[in-house]
Amino acid sequence: MASTVINQVVGRQADSLTGESQWPLWEVFTQSEQGAPHEHAGSLHAVDAEQALQNARDVYARRGGVISLWVIPSGAITASSPSESGPFFDPGADKAYRHPQFYKVPRGVRGV
């Protein structure tokens, strides 16, 4: 009898430790002005897309400065693996021709 109770309690703790009791995770992207990119703002928990949007509004947009929000299930993101970072990102710093540094940026051009 007592062991059943303990198992239930332990089971519940294990659930919360492994995140099984949590709502699904969503990634939030905010846009600050027309034409600007949506930038990753953070993540949150929600049971569905509408709730994710509402929570994103309250958590990341309540102090203004946001005109558009995207929410994406975290699981839908395919990410590069840290172990591949060498082959993926070693930039060839020795290949100067990869960088567009031979152009003069005209005056008045912003956002570069």
Binding site: E50, Q51, Q54, N55, D58
Partner: protein, 267 residues
């Protein structure tokens, strides 16, 4: 020449300033309900919802601030929004009783909020057409916030009503308890009549069908049962004339103690 005999009939109490009364009703609904919502701060079921409820509470507090400020100006006795919020007694508050009921469980909080949010949208929408330009402007600003509030509480009604057996049972029980407080939202008295005659405020009773069809639509989608109507309440109202449940006094004791202990304090 004889002077007329002094009357033994006491002079009637001075006629209340209708707009002052009405602005207190609008402001106090939001002040008291906002305070109730703020009680969830740090206690909501999940962090995101904690922030969402605090956010709605702050919206309501902001609306209460401008409405009570305007009320103080209309009254013309030098009382500002803080004086009205912190230095009136319970009998002077004009909020509906729905707003002052204790927080209850999450289902109760959401059900109460939903009933009020739909009312708020319907009422504010009508108030944007007020012949009082200042009131119309306040209503327009508040309406934007109220439209979001109802989206939030409406979504929760669907989730709780059409969720688990427990969530359905809890939110239905909350509705059954709350329903009898809703007629007060649409009850009118001479204050409303006077202001409605001048187009300052809408005819509250005429707004009820719109409110009722909106809430019933959500009840249906949420598989909730609309509670049975209570008999039409008498014209004399409860909260609108200062008759409150015992709960308001406890709320005010907590809300007002700092301002009363340190009058004039600023930070």
């Amino acid at each position: 020449m004889t002077s007329p005999a002094p009357s033994i009939v006491p002079a009637p109490p001075p006629k209340p300033n209708a707009l002052f009364e009405y602005l207190q009703r609008l402001g106090d609904d939001r002040l008291i309900l906002g305070h109730r919502l703020s009680e969830w701060c740090g206690h909501a079921p999940i962090l995101e919802e904690d922030i969402a409820l605090a956010n709605v509470a702050l919206d309501l507090l902001g609306q209460a601030t401008i409405l009570l400020r305007m009320a103080g100006e209309v009254e013309g006795r030098g009382r500002n929004e803080d004086a009205l919020a912190y230095f009136r007694e319970a009998v002077e508050f004009r909020n509906c009783q729905l707003a002052e009921l204790p927080t209850g469980d999450f289902g109760f909080t959401i059900a109460r909020q939903f009933l009020f949010d739909v009312y708020d949208v319907v009422l504010l929408d009508a108030l944007t057409k007020s012949t009082n330009a200042e009131l119309a402007a306040i209503a327009g600003k508040s309406l934007k916030e109220a439209r979001y509030h109802v989206r939030h509480s409406g979504e929760w009604m669907l989730k709780l009503g059409d969720g688990t057996d427990e969530s359905h049972r809890r939110v239905q029980a909350a509705l059954d308890e709350l329903w009898r407080y809703t007629p007060e939202l649409f009850a009118v008295d001479e204050i409303d009549d006077e202001l409605a005659a001048n187009g300052v405020v809408p005819d509250l009773a005429a707004l009820k069908p719109a409110w009722e069809s909106l809430v019933r639509e959500v009840f249906d989608r949420a598989t909730l049962t609309t509670p049975n109507d209570v008999p039409r309440p008498p014209r004399a109202r409860g909260g609108r004339t200062g008759a409150h449940t015992e709960h308001l006094g406890h709320l005010l004791a907590e809300m007002q103690i700092v301002a009363r202990s340190h009058p004039g304090a600023a930070w």
